[in-house]
Symmetry: C2
Subunit: 238 residues, 2 copies
DNA sequence: ATATTTTACTTGTTAATACAAGTTAAATAT
DNA sequence: ATATTTAACTTGTATTAACAAGTAAAATAT
């Protein structure tokens, strides 16, 4: 459904090593093959290999030690919502179930939106949806998502049940999340939130306001996420 | 107090550009000089310059656009505790005041510590301190810090009032924070927390549990931070 | 046997070079 | 005047080369 794209070598190696780490080919504490060995194995030069390793290190999959090597780092067992990708990919698609509260609809942007909007965004209107995500049958996230209606034909009729929003944007519209920023607060659960997250009124919940940048410089993705952190913590690296 | 160390060129340029951005020499939205111009200006080659820019981009100071250039990104006005450095450097030393609740003392590690400890750490004992940090006279952070007593002579007698812990570790012991991980939760304020942060009982506070790695592979820095997020948000990038 | 030195690894830094790909504005053709 | 093409930028990818610096184990001297 998407025309093939040339994938850079460093990116290819990054994906391979990342998958191997997640699959347990390289386990926590293991030494990765040395940079020179990786060069031989994958037919690349050292700067290219180092680019891959640099990204793996940045994402927290490995730790590099001069004179020693690259060591696979202990992976977060918690929900890695603070990592680059969306909630679904971070925790593994298997366990996380999604329920749609409000199907994607086209509407006006809220009057006092949490982030400043460009003129183009305001004029385009807003695609809105609400979801609740469950981990082992416990409601963990109540997501409210907003994005501008920019060249996204038929998005409001797509099936979101089994695919993450990120997957749909990538597969059908070739849109990828590049980076983003977020604000985090602790707030008391209001009536609506406590209902969706099965909590008592005024119980503390984590509130994340996120703005995500995509490979389309005009298109941003916004979400307001309420997290039940009673049993699970939000995990992050820096 | 510390023997001079050779600073790599890419690191030097990173620090220069970072300072210029923070000082407003390059303002939000500005184009940085092109990579080739930076090469000429600072007498480096492009791979070296690109290493600096790559780090600036990672830290959120700039956004790179192929064919266009590197654009200074809007800086977080909130408290950037989620960034690499400590709370003090993130918000600027000027406005953040620190009060010592418990001066650094040597003690046993708590029985159920929030992170697993190595044998070496357990044997070394634990340096413990508590601080409250104010932003514009509002208490924002209640920090409890733990670190192993490894080659840190006289640390319990140092003056922490006007210097950050990170500064003292860097200047006197040549220890730098390299990376870390954290868990984030929303919890109700207990009696102790509400007293220090001037909040009501059971009011939601952000709870961060952080483990930081240093350039000494045996030494880790732990902190349990309670944040009053009524007025300020915790800000992060990904 | 023990301590020291050497050696062979590892990653870190830096240079010089080439071409690909995206952006923008100037030059050109209509 | 307007639309198109071209050219001159920008960053992205990749190679080859060399030496520095840190680590660990083997070789050597005591």
């Amino acid at each position: 459904m998407v025309s093939p794209k040339i994938i850079p070598q460093h990116r290819r190696l990054y994906e391979i090593l990342r998958k191997h780490i997640l699959d347990g080919v390289y386990k926590e504490g293991d030494l990765l093959p040395s940079e020179n060995e990786l060069c031989q194995l994958y037919g690349m030069t050292r700067p290219t290999v180092r680019q891959s390793l640099s990204r793996l290190s940045n994402d927290g999959y490995i730790r590099k030690h001069q004179g020693k090597g690259s060591i696979v780092h202990n992976l977060p067992k918690e929900i890695g919502i603070l990592s680059v990708s969306g909630t679904t990919s971070a925790v593994g698609d298997r366990k996380l179930k999604t329920t749609i509260i409000v199907k994607p609809v086209l509407m006006q942007w809220p009057a006092d939106f949490m982030f400043p909007l460009t003129q183009l965004e305001k004029e385009s209107g807003c695609i809105y949806m609400e979801r609740v995500r469950f981990l082992e049958d416990i409601p963990i996230f109540y997501d409210i998502t907003y994005l501008a209606n920019l060249n996204l034909p038929r998005i409001t009729v797509r099936q979101f049940e089994n695919k993450s929003l990120f997957q749909i944007l990538r597969n059908y519209y070739r849109i990828e999340i590049k980076s983003g920023e977020q604000r985090i607060k602790a707030i008391p659960a209001n009536k609506k939130i406590s209902r969706f997250l099965h909590l008592k009124n005024d119980q503390p919940v984590l509130h994340l306001e996120r703005k995500m940048e995509t490979n389309n410089p005009d298109l941003f993705l916004y979400s307001s996420i309420f997290c039940n952190t009673e049993k699970y913590s939000i995990f992050g690296r820096f």
